[in-house]
């Protein structure tokens, strides 16, 4: 997935399981887990389907009845948190900044 200027991916050491209400994302090496709910679980679902950044913005905007600008701000905030939590990583050599 391309996140603005960076290409992001789910690290191989991250696995996830979902039930009807939430998604549990586990970083196997860091032994950290993240419980995703509401729009975060939807975003994780779309992201792991392989949708690119502009498509994620569009899907989030439609789902949340927001403008694409508002959706983009929300998406960036979520992606930043996931990067910090280690459940997303920057693909080496793919920096476009």
């Amino acid at each position: 997935m391309t996140g603005g200027e960076l290409k992001l991916k789910v690290p191989d050491v991250v696995s996830w399981i979902r039930d009807r209400a939430q998604t549990l994302v586990v970083h196997e090496e860091g032994r950290q887990s993240h419980i995703l709910i509401d729009e975060e679980t939807a975003l994780w679902g779309w992201l792991t389907c392989g949708y690119e950044y502009p498509e994620l913005v569009r899907m989030l905007a439609v789902s949340q009845r927001k403008t694409e600008k508002e959706a983009e701000i929300q998406l960036e905030s979520v992606l930043r948190r996931w990067l910090e939590g280690g459940i997303l990583e920057v693909v080496e050599g793919e920096s476009r900044g």
Binding site: R18, T41, G45, Y51, V62, S63
Partner: protein, 464 residues
């Protein structure tokens, strides 16, 4: 003395030298001899007790107040059967029997429309106080518009979870896509109805790509993914004259390779397209026998055989979503009662449209026409003359409202009726443990004809 009154909810079918009584509203099915049947008819027409105790106990059961017959829904739609979404009418395959115009219908549902349909449906469910809801995807091929499906799945799950509603997701699919799509489906959906016409030799003569390439290999690999997952896998096989005689063999193969929850064998619906492709429905007598043999094979593995018109466990007045308040949204926002193409209804003089998805202010609503809803609900077996006196009326309910019109005279049974009546009678006999009688009866065309071509199935002393 024989009674002459017609017992309109008690059916009597001659099977060899016996009479099969079936009164679904009384929950009575019995096998008696001709004399016993006459005594039952007489007993119901008078208050005189029968001399035979077993016969008298049947009479008493039949005198008890029956369960209410299934009736047409009324009032506004507040308990829809499910929300159906048609992400696209397009398809990636060119099956020889398919008459959907897949080549020129690449319109895909807009995400905004899909969202509005889901939101309006969930609001309706919340208002009704229900805790469960269902979204079914139809096509074309729904996964030919993957972004729509993947958007809806996540959006609907989020909305349902937020509202405390349990969501059931189901799709009818051809299974022809990359394995990662099948894995995603297996992870997200509850039920998949997969079109698979058997092993490669059978499947590939009927189901191919638009450029006539075989599809079996891909579909089978994906079927294995579904089979190995938690998903409920229902295989749907279209039975033509070319594969009818192989149904037991196909059932054996399904059982060993895929262990689906159910295998649904439905006969080909003839159309100009199928005629052009040289495909014809099976002979109904052969289909019925082979279906029952396949059912036995599947039962040996603990699996279910389904034929939508012969399910005797339930009572219904429509055998499909029509009349049950399913809300099926087309890519253009129309809300219909049926997932078939509007052209196919119109050719039969039917209108299945219920209304439209609209947005009022910021709120999406299902704008349904009261008269249209009433019209769709009126498409049921109670308004089908052909079925009026048929033992199958509460099981097959007249079949497809579009492809099997019920306006023929009472008792004028066509090929679909013939196979339906044979399978239903055989299943009723087997339910009574009468396997030997069922086998004997199925082995005699003359005996089956005597049963199948009864003009009226109502129990009547005069006709026994």
């Amino acid at each position: 003395m024989m009674g002459s009154a017609r017992n309109e909810e008690i059916f009597a079918i001659s099977v060899e030298d016996r009479v099969l009584l079936h009164a679904p509203l009384h929950r009575v099915t019995a096998l008696v001899d001709q004399t016993g049947a006459a005594q039952i008819a007489a007993g119901l027409a008078s208050n005189n007790p029968a001399s035979n105790r077993e016969i008298q106990s049947i009479v008493e059961w039949l005198r008890d107040k029956p369960d209410p017959a299934p009736v047409e829904r009324s009032g506004p739609i507040d308990q829809p059967l499910f929300l159906g979404l048609i992400p696209t009418r397009g398809c990636n395959l060119g099956c020889r029997y398919c008459d959907f115009p897949a080549d020129d219908s690449n319109e895909k549902m807009k995400l905004e429309l899909a969202r509005d349909a889901v939101d309006a449906y969930l609001d309706l469910i919340l208002q009704s106080g229900k805790a469960e809801c269902e979204i079914h995807f139809f096509g074309g091929e729904p996964f030919f518009a993957p972004a729509v499906v993947q958007f809806v799945v996540e959006h609907a799950r989020m909305r349902a979870a937020h509202s405390g509603i349990s969501l059931h997701l189901e799709a009818t699919t051809n299974g022809y896509y990359p394995a990662n799509v099948a894995e995603w489906i297996a992870d997200c959906f509850d039920t998949i109805v997969l079109s698979l016409d058997g092993p490669a030799d059978f499947h590939d003569i009927q189901r191919m790509t638009k450029n006539q390439r075989p599809t079996f290999e891909v579909v089978f690999e994906n079927a294995r993914i579904f089979s190995g997952s938690q998903i409920e896998l229902c295989i749907r096989t279209c039975v033509t004259s070319k594969i009818a005689s192989a149904l037991p063999e196909i059932a054996e193969w399904f059982s060993q390779e895929l262990q689906p929850a159910t295998v649904c064998f439905e006969t080909l619906t003839p159309s100009p397209q199928t005629e052009k492709a040289g495909l014809i429905p099976p002979d109904p007598w052969e289909f019925a026998r082979e279906f029952l043999a396949a059912e036995k094979v599947l039962a040996g593995y603990g699996l279910n055989a389904v034929n939508s018109m012969t399910e005797i466990q339930s009572l219904q007045i429509s055998c499909c979503p029509v009349g049950k308040d399913a809300l099926i949204v087309a890519p253009n926002g129309r809300v219909d009662a049926c997932y078939l193409l509007p052209e196919s209804w119109e050719q039969r003089g039917l209108d299945m449209n219920l209304g439209q998805i609209r947005v009022k202010g910021d709120v999406p609503i299902l704008e349904l026409e009261e008269t249209s809803v009433r019209r769709a609900r009126g498409l049921n077996v109670n308004n089908k003359l052909r079925c009026a006196e048929c033992v199958c009326r509460y099981h097959c309910a007249g079949g497809c409202h579009v492809n099997h019109p019920g306006d023929a005279p009472t008792g004028q049974f066509d090929e679909l009726c013939i196979q339906t009546r044979i399978i239903t009678i055989a299943r009723l006999l087997k339910g009574l443990g009468q396997h030997d009688l069922a086998s004997k009866w199925l082995g005699s065309r003359r005996a089956m004809e005597a049963s199948v071509f009864q003009q009226s199935d109502f129990l009547s002393g005069e006709t026994l």
